[in-house]
C-alpha cells in the first residue's frame, strides 16, 4: 500500500512511449505528403502542414503538462459542467461557425479554427464515466441506461446537425463501453445483424433469394425446435420483421441517405462501377497503398500521395502514405503500434479501482478503436468512406489535441488510482 500513499503517482510511460511514436510517425508522414522535390522545404517550414503540425505537437506537450498539474478531483467534479459547455459550443457552431470542406464544424478564433466536435469526445467520455460511476447506478436498470443514451445522444445529434456524420458515428463507440459495464449484448447483436443484412441486401441484387433463405431458416427452426405456439409465433414475427428490413433497404438508400452517402455505400460494394466518380477516393487510396508492395517506395518517394492523387491525404487518408512509402512492413508497424496502445489502455482501464476511471478508460479504448478500425478500414476499401481521422496521426490541431486530452486524462487518473481508493 506504499505506492498508493504516493500523492503524485506515476504516469504510465509505456503508453506515453506509444503515444510519442504514433505522433512522430504521423508528423513524418504529413511531411511526406506535402514534400515537393523541386522546392525542398524543410519539415519545420510553417508554410507546410508538417510545420504547423509541429506547432500542434508542441502545444500538446503544454496541454499534457496542464492535465498532469490539474487536481485529480477536477475531472470528475467538472464533468457535467464541461459537458454542458461543449453542448453550448456545439449549438453555437451552426450559428457562428465557418464551413470547411462541406461541414460546418469549425469555430474560428481569429485565423485559427477549432472543431468543438473533436473535444466533445473526451467531454462526453467524462460525463458518461461520471454518471456510470455515481452511487446507485446499475447498468441493468433501464432508466439508467436511457440516461446514458441521452448523454451520448445529445452531442451526436448536434454534430449530425453540422452534417459531420463521421464524427457523430464515433459516439456509437460508447455502446461498447456500456457492454463492458454489463449491458446486455442483445442490442449489439441486433445492430451487427442489421448491418450485415443491410450489406447483404446491397450485395445480392435479387432480394427474392434473401427472402427465400429467411423463410428457409424459419421453417428449419420451427421444425427442429419445440413446437410451442409462442415460440413459433415469435420466430414468425421476427422473420417478417427481417423481411421488412430488407424491403426497407432500398428506401433507406434512396430516401434517408444523402446522395454523397449513398455513393459511399455504393463505392464500397463496387468501387469499379465509377472509378472517376464516387469510387475515386477508394480507388485512389487502394492504388496508393497497393503500389507500396512489401517494403514500400521509401520515405518521400511516394508518387500517389505526393502528387495529390489521393484526396484528404494529410488528414483522413494519411494511412495511404504509410502504405505507399513503407509498404506492408510499414503498415504492420503502424497497426502494431495501435494494437499495443489499445491493449495497454485496456490493461490500464482494468486496473482502475473506481468505476469512474474504469468507464473512462474503456471510453478511451472504444473511441480510439472506432477511429482506428473505421479509418484504416476505409482506406483499404473494407468500409464506406467516413471522414474521421486516424488518431495521433492525421494532420490537424483539434484532432490531435482532442485525442491527447482523452488519453492523458486517463493516464492522470491512472497515476492517482491508489489515492482514489483511499478517498472513498
Amino acid at each position: 500500500m506504499k505506492r498508493e500513499d504516493n500523492i503524485s503517482g506515476t504516469l504510465d510511460w509505456t503508453t506515453i512511449g506509444l503515444y510519442l511514436a504514433l505522433v512522430l510517425l504521423g508528423w513524418f508522414n504529413i511531411y511526406a505528403v506535402v514534400y515537393d522535390e523541386g522546392v525542398h522545404q524543410p519539415i519545420f517550414s510553417l508554410t507546410l502542414n508538417s510545420g504547423r503540425q509541429l506547432l500542434f505537437i508542441i502545444a500538446s506537450i503544454f496541454i499534457i503538462m496542464g492535465i498532469v498539474i490539474l487536481d485529480i478531483r477536477f475531472y470528475e467534479a467538472f464533468a457535467y459542467v464541461l459537458y454542458g459547455l461543449i453542448l453550448f459550443l456545439l449549438i453555437l457552431v451552426p450559428i457562428i461557425g465557418k464551413e470547411v470542406g462541406g461541414n460546418k464544424a469549425w469555430i474560428g478564433i481569429g485565423s485559427f479554427g477549432v472543431q468543438p466536435s473533436e473535444f466533445a469526445k473526451f467531454v462526453t467520455a467524462l460525463a458518461v464515466a461520471k454518471y456510470a460511476g455515481s452511487v446507485g447506478f446499475r447498468m441493468d436498470n433501464l432508466r439508467n441506461q436511457a440516461v446514458l443514451f441521452v448523454i451520448i445522444g445529445l452531442p451526436m445529434a448536434l454534430i449530425l446537425l453540422q452534417k459531420d456524420t463521421g464524427t457523430a458515428l464515433v459516439f456509437i463507440a460508447f455502446v461498447l463501453v456500456f457492454f463492458r459495464e454489463g449491458m446486455s449484448p442483445f442490442l449489439m447483436i441486433v445492430g451487427i445483424c442489421g448491418a450485415t443484412l443491410f450489406i447483404l441486401t446491397l450485395l445480392i441484387p435479387n432480394q427474392l433469394y434473401l427472402h427465400a433463405s429467411i423463410v428457409g431458416i424459419l421453417v428449419l427452426l420451427i421444425t427442429l425446435g419445440k413446437k410451442k405456439f409462442k415460440r413459433i409465433a415469435i420466430l414468425t414475427v421476427g422473420a417478417i420483421m427481417i423481411m421488412g428490413i430488407i424491403e426497407s433497404v432500398d428506401y433507406v438508400i434512396t430516401d434517408v441517405l444523402k446522395p454523397h452517402q449513398q455513393n459511399r455505400v455504393k463505392a464500397l460494394i463496387n468501387p469499379d462501377a465509377d472509378p472517376l466518380g464516387f469510387g475515386w477516393n477508394v480507388t485512389q487510396s487502394k492504388i496508393a497503398i497497393g503500389s507500396g508492395g512489401f517494403t514500400g517506395k521509401g520515405f518521400l518517394r511516394g508518387t500517389q500521395t505526393k502528387f495529390d492523387f489521393v484526396p484528404e491525404q494529410s488528414t483522413d487518408f494519411i494511412f495511404c502514405t504509410i502504405g505507399e512509402e513503407h509498404g506492408w512492413i510499414g503498415s504492420l508497424i503502424v497497426i502494431g503500434l495501435f494494437v499495443a496502445l489499445l491493449l495497454r489502455v485496456i490493461f490500464i482501464a482494468e486496473r482502475q479501482k473506481s468505476r469512474f476511471a474504469r468507464v473512462y478508460g474503456y471510453s478511451v479504448v472504444c473511441i480510439i478503436f472506432f477511429h482506428f478500425a473505421i479509418n484504416i478500414g476505409m482506406t483499404v476499401g473494407l468500409f464506406p468512406v467516413i471522414g474521421i481521422p486516424l488518431p495521433f496521426f492525421s494532420y490537424g490541431g483539434s484532432s490531435l489535441w482532442g485525442f491527447t486530452i482523452l488519453l492523458f486524462i486517463l493516464l492522470k487518473l491512472d497515476a492517482h488510482r491508489g489515492q482514489v481508493l483511499q478517498r472513498i
Binding site: G38, L276, I289, K306, F309, I346, V365, V380, G381
Partner: protein, 605 residues
C-alpha cells in the same frame, strides 16, 4: 456478470488488426495491378513520333514529304464537367457525334480512364489554330502533334501507295508491339514495301505528373527515355518529269507505261491509268475519299503495270525468234512461206526471212518456228514430242522473267502465265494434247499472260543483249545508300548474246520502216516492236515495246493502251514521246503529242 468481456475487447482488437494486415497483404504484395495503376497515374508516357522518311526522285526532287497534323487525346479521369455546346462548336462536332465518340471510346478493349485515349484524329494546322485557344477550358483533353504525308505532285500515286491508320487486324497481328492504335502505317506501294525503313523508331519519355496532369519532372532522371529516330529517306529511280509527262499522255486512257534504265533495272516511270491524286488519301478526309476512289469503276487503285495481266501479242515474237535461234531450229536466213491457212496475216509479204518476219510481224512464220521448236522429232509419239519441246521452250521463255513475279519492290505484283505441260494437262483434263492444240502461243496469244512490267523488263533484257537487273523503284535507302542487295544481282537469260543482235536489227527495222514508224526519233536509233492484242469483242489493246538508243541504251519501255487498236498508233506514239522526253529532256513533236492527247486511234467503222 461481466466475466470474459475484457477478453472480447482484446480479441476484437487483434482480429481487426489481422483482417487489415491480410487485406493489405493482398493488395500490396499479391496483387500487382495496383502498382501498374499507380504508374499509369503518376507516370506520363509521352510518345515522340518519328518523322517518316521522305521519298525523292532520281534527281533529288521531293515527291513525298511530311506535314504537321494534330490529334486530340483524352485522359478521362481528368475530364471535368464542360460546356458541351461550346465543345461541339470548337471541335466542329454535332452533339450526336460527341456522344458517339465517348461511347465508342469507352467500348474499346484497351480503354482505361487512366490512359490517354485517342479522341479526334487528323486535325489540320487550321483546326489546331482554332482549337488551341479553347483547350484550357476542357481539362483532360490534350493535343498531340505528329506528321502526316503530303505530296508535291499528283503523279506516281499507285507506286507510292498511301499511309493510313493501322487496322484492327494488323494491330492484332503485330506481335512486336511496334504499333499503337491510331498509328500510321504504309498500306500499299512504296509506303507498304519500305514500311520498316520509312517509319523510323518512336521515342518515348516518361514524366512524373500530379493529379492535375502537371508535369513535375522526368521519371528517374530520364533513364528510360529514348529519342525518336527518323525514318530513312528513299531515293527512287523515277524521273519525276518523265513520270508526270507519262501521266499527262495517258490522260483519259486505260493502260500503263513502264520505263526502265536497262543498265541498272531502275524504274524511270511507272504510269497506271487512270490514277488518283494521292493528296486525297491524307488527313481527315481519308476515309470518305477512300470509299469514293476504291468504288470507282475505272479502278484507279488498280496498279496496272504490275497487276494487269494481258496476252503479250506480237511483241512475243521477238522472244520466239531468239528461243528458236538458240535451239538451232532456224537461222536468220530461214524463210517460211506466209501461207495464211491456219493463222491469218497482214500486209503483202509472202516468203520472209527472220528479220523480215519480225518487221512485218508475220504470223505464219512464227507458227512455223514454234512447230519446229515443239516438234523436233526426238521421239515418234507426236504428243510426247510436243511435251518435250514445250519444256525446253518454257526454260528459255522463263529465263526472261516471264511466268513468275519479277520481284519489284512494290506489293501485289502478278506473275503472268507461261504455259507449261502441266497447264495443258489441267486444261485438257489429262487427255493427250499436241502442237495443233496449243499453237496460238506462237504469236503471243492463247494461254500466254504477261504484266506490262515484264514486257518492259523483256525489252531491257534485249537492250542489254542477254541479262537484266530486277526492276526496282528505290535506288537508295537513305540519302546516299544502296538499293536492296537483290537488285544488284545480274540475271542472265539462256540466250546467247549473238542471237540478240539479230532481234535488235529487226527491231530497228520495225521502227525505221515497219509497223513502229511513229516511234522513230531524229538522230537516235530506236528499236521497238508493235503488238495488237486481240480482245474480242472489244477493240484490241495497243502494245509497244522499245529501247533507245540502240548502242548503250538508256531507256527501255513498254506501253499498253487498252482498247486502242493497233500498237503502232497509240502505244508507239506514247513510247516515242516518252523516250524523247527522257533522252533529250523535252519533246519537239507537238503534232504527235496532239495525236496522243486526242486519242482517236481507232479506224472509223
Amino acid at each position: 456478470m461481466n466475466e470474459g468481456r475484457r477478453e472480447i475487447f482484446q480479441i476484437a482488437i487483434v482480429l481487426v488488426a489481422i483482417i487489415f494486415l491480410v487485406k493489405l497483404f493482398f493488395i500490396q504484395v499479391l496483387d500487382s495491378r495496383y502498382a501498374d495503376m499507380a504508374d499509369s497515374n503518376a507516370i506520363l508516357r509521352q510518345v515522340d513520333y518519328p518523322v517518316r522518311g521522305l521519298i525523292k526522285d532520281r534527281n533529288g526532287k521531293l515527291i513525298v514529304y511530311n506535314t504537321p497534323e494534330f490529334k486530340l487525346e483524352v485522359l478521362l479521369k481528368d475530364v471535368k464537367k464542360f460546356d458541351s455546346a461550346k465543345f461541339c462548336r470548337v471541335f466542329e462536332l454535332s452533339r450526336e457525334e460527341l456522344r458517339r465518340k465517348f461511347k465508342e471510346m469507352k467500348a474499346r478493349k484497351e480503354f482505361s480512364p487512366y490512359k490517354p485515349t485517342l479522341f479526334l484524329n487528323q486535325l489540320s494546322t487550321t483546326d489546331f489554330a482554332r482549337i488551341q485557344d479553347y483547350l484550357d477550358e476542357f481539362p483532360g483533353f490534350y493535343v498531340q502533334a505528329r506528321t502526316t504525308r503530303a505530296y508535291t505532285t499528283p503523279a506516281l500515286a499507285n507506286a507510292l501507295g498511301y499511309v493510313s491508320e493501322i487496322s484492327k487486324t494488323r494491330l492484332e497481328e503485330d506481335g512486336t508491339n511496334t504499333y499503337k492504335q491510331g498509328d500510321y502505317i504504309g498500306q500499299s506501294g512504296i509506303e507498304a514495301f519500305y514500311e520498316e525503313s520509312l517509319r523510323g523508331k518512336r521515342g518515348v519519355s516518361f514524366k512524373l505528373r500530379n493529379v492535375k496532369g502537371i508535369v513535375k519532372g522526368s521519371f528517374k532522371d530520364g533513364a528510360y527515355d529514348t529519342l525518336s529516330i527518323p525514318g530513312h529517306d528513299l531515293v527512287t529511280g523515277v524521273d519525276l518529269d518523265l513520270q508526270q509527262y507519262g501521266e499527262f499522255l495517258m490522260k483519259g486512257k486505260a493502260g500503263s507505261i513502264a520505263a526502265i534504265e536497262p543498265s541498272s533495272g531502275e524504274i524511270l516511270a511507272l504510269v497506271s491509268g487512270p490514277s488518283y491524286d494521292p493528296n486525297l488519301l491524307t488527313g481527315r478526309q481519308y476515309s470518305s475519299n477512300f470509299k469514293l476512289i476504291s468504288s470507282d469503276t475505272n479502278k484507279p487503285l488498280f496498279n496496272r503495270p504490275l497487276m494487269a495481266q494481258y496476252r503479250p501479242g506480237s511483241i512475243f515474237k521477238i522472244a520466239q525468234a531468239m528461243t528458236a535461234l538458240q535451239e538451232g531450229v532456224i537461222t536468220p536466213e530461214t524463210r517460211i512461206r506466209c501461207d495464211r491457212t491456219i493463222i491469218d496475216c497482214h500486209g503483202t509479204h509472202t516468203n520472209e526471212d527472220l528479220r523480215g518476219a519480225i518487221t512485218n510481224s508475220c504470223n505464219p512464220y512464227f507458227l512455223g518456228v514454234l512447230r519446229r521448236m515443239l516438234n523436233k522429232g526426238v521421239i515418234n509419239d507426236p504428243y510426247k514430242d510436243t511435251r518435250i519441246g514445250l519444256e525446253e521452250w518454257d526454260k528459255h521463255i522463263m529465263s526472261f522473267g516471264f511466268g513468275s513475279p519479277l520481284g519489284i519492290d512494290l506489293p501485289n505484283e502478278k506473275r503472268g502465265l507461261v504455259p507449261t505441260p502441266s497447264t495443258y494437262d489441267a486444261a485438257y483434263h489429262n487427255k493427250p494434247w499436241k502442237f495443233s492444240n496449243i499453237y496460238s502461243i506462237a504469236i503471243g496469244e492463247g494461254e500466254n499472260l504477261v504484266v506490262p512490267l515484264q514486257m518492259a523488263n523483256f525489252v531491257a533484257t534485249i537492250a542489254n543483249r542477254g541479262y537484266y537487273f530486277t526492276p526496282h523503284i528505290v535506288r537508295s535507302i537513305g540519302s546516299d545508300g544502296k538499293p536492296l542487295p537483290k537488285y544488284e544481282e545480274r540475271h542472265r537469260t539462256t540466250i546467247d548474246s549473238a542471237n540478240f543482235t539479230i532481234a535488235i536489227d529487226a527491231m530497228q527495222q520495225v521502227v525505221e520502216s515497219g509497223t513502229g514508224i511513229r516511234a522513230k526519233l531524229k538522230d537516235i536509233i530506236v528499236c521497238g516492236k508493235t503488238g495488237t492484242v486481240q480482245n474480242t469483242p472489244n477493240p484490241d489493246h495497243a502494245v509497244f515495246i522499245a529501247f533507245a538508243p540502240r548502242d548503250n541504251p538508256k531507256i527501255a519501255i513498254s506501253v499498253y493502251v487498252e482498247n486502242m487498236g493497233q500498237g503502232g498508233r497509240a502505244a508507239a506514239s506514247i513510247a516515242s514521246l516518252m523516250m524523247e522526253k527522257y533522252l533529250l529532256g523535252h519533246t519537239n513533236r507537238p503534232y504527235l503529242e496532239q495525236y496522243v492527247l486526242e486519242g482517236k486511234f481507232l479506224d472509223p467503222k
